[in-house]
């Protein structure tokens, strides 16, 4: 995999430069909505939509934006797509929208998205920006879903709402509370580092 090649730009966000495990960006939604598998997945999809659309728009219009106003321009573009995603979820999936609460509108200030605009989309062409955005949001989503899986299993005894453990299981309430998110995330970050070191 050559640095700068299309496949590299896509894959880097999934593992090597994973936004959650390596860059530790966007911690607020990661900690808050990874309490169940469904919430984690829905959040990941919302971020995917916003990141892909914003990266496409920004990389297309990057030449006409004066650098002095680039941040406000990025924020307006991001906010537009976040609001569209929020309205869509409220119309089509009211239950998910309710469960995610304020965290959908808060994608506007999610640093993963702004960071990708500043560090990548404003310097690369739309094709590479699309691959970068897809890779980063898939990287974000799989970590959220896996976190949700562990926390939901131990905190509720269910997976995606289906009961896995019988009535003998005493739920670990700490897992659905913020400390559970920190503990699980810490273990994940450590594991990722360990595997990276082993595989070089």
């Amino acid at each position: 995999m050559k640095k700068g090649s299309a496949i590299y730009e896509f894959l880097k966000g999934i593992w090597k430069d994973n936004p959650v495990l390596v860059m530790l960006l966007g911690m607020c939604p990661v900690l808050a909505v990874s309490n169940t598998v469904i919430n984690g997945f829905a959040m990941g999809m919302a971020v995917l939509f916003v990141l892909v659309m914003s990266s496409l728009v920004i990389s297309t219009i990057k030449r006409i934006i004066p650098s002095q106003v680039r941040i406000p321009s990025f924020i307006i573009v991001i906010a537009t797509f976040v609001t569209i995603a929020d309205l869509f979820l409220r119309a089509q999936f009211p239950d998910i929208s309710k469960a995610l609460g304020p965290f959908i509108p808060l994608i506007i200030v999610n640093c993963i998205i702004l960071a990708r605009q500043e560090a990548f989309a404003s310097k690369n062409n739309p094709w590479k920006s699309l691959l970068d955005a897809l890779g980063m949001s898939i990287g974000f989503t799989w970590v959220l879903v896996l976190l949700g899986l562990v926390r939901e299993l131990l905190g509720f005894g269910t997976v995606a709402g289906f009961r896995v453990f019988g009535t003998w299981f005493e739920p670990w309430i700490v897992m659905i509370l913020p400390p559970g998110a920190f503990i699980t995330l810490g273990i994940f970050v450590g594991l990722q580092k360990l595997i990276m070191r082993r595989t070089g």
């Binding site: 309205l87 409220r90 009211p94 309430i173 659905i176």
Partner: protein, 181 residues
């Protein structure tokens, strides 16, 4: 000067584009969103008024409104009151059924809450909520065992949330009776 003009025109352009696309999305979704909210409320109201197949909402204030429940034949079978007030960590929004003589509650559904999961959050659980069906009003939360018709047993470790639910119901009932006068 040239740069200032360019900054202004680019930001204006992006703003116009953003506003336009949001207006379109809003128009396309708002009806569905309001529909969803109304359906969720009406479904809850029908559930707490036994025998109701049709409900009519009357708004009292920003946090509180009541529903009249009718059966198939169009007879009034009961009321439901929706009220929201602070609980332990944030607002608890709930809806409860009231008999036509205002003396008893006929059921309770918690619509929104941000109480502690595993403790205060247990107010949404069925066995606890079941205490509100047939409860004499105004209610009272007690520890241990119930000794009067208007008492419910508070959740162990979540007295504040349990008290809050009862308080929200009592205040909602008062507002509702005031509004009916």
């Amino acid at each position: 000067m040239k740069l200032a003009l360019r900054m202004i025109s680019v930001l204006t352009g992006i703003g116009l584009f953003s506003g336009g696309s949001l207006a379109l999305t809003y128009n396309a979704t708002i009806r569905k969103i309001e529909d969803n909210e109304r359906k969720a409320k009406e479904l809850a109201a029908k559930e707490v008024i036994p025998g109701a197949t049709r409900v009519e909402e009357t708004v009292i204030d920003r946090a509180c409104s009541y529903f009249k429940g009718y059966d198939e034949a169009g007879n009034l079978v009961g009321y439901a009151v929706m009220n929201a007030e602070p609980g332990f960590q944030g607002n608890i929004k709930l809806i409860f059924g009231v008999t036509p003589d205002f003396k008893r509650s006929t059921g309770l559904i918690i619509l929104d809450n941000v109480e502690t999961p595993g403790l205060g959050n247990r107010i949404v659980e069925e066995p606890w909520r079941a205490q509100f069906a047939g409860l004499a009003l105004p209610g009272e939360a007690v520890k241990g065992t119930r000794s009067a018709e208007n008492q419910i047993v508070a959740i162990t470790g979540a007295t504040i949330s349990s008290d809050a639910v009862v308080r929200i119901i009592n205040n909602g009932l008062a507002k509702f009776q005031e509004a009916l006068k």
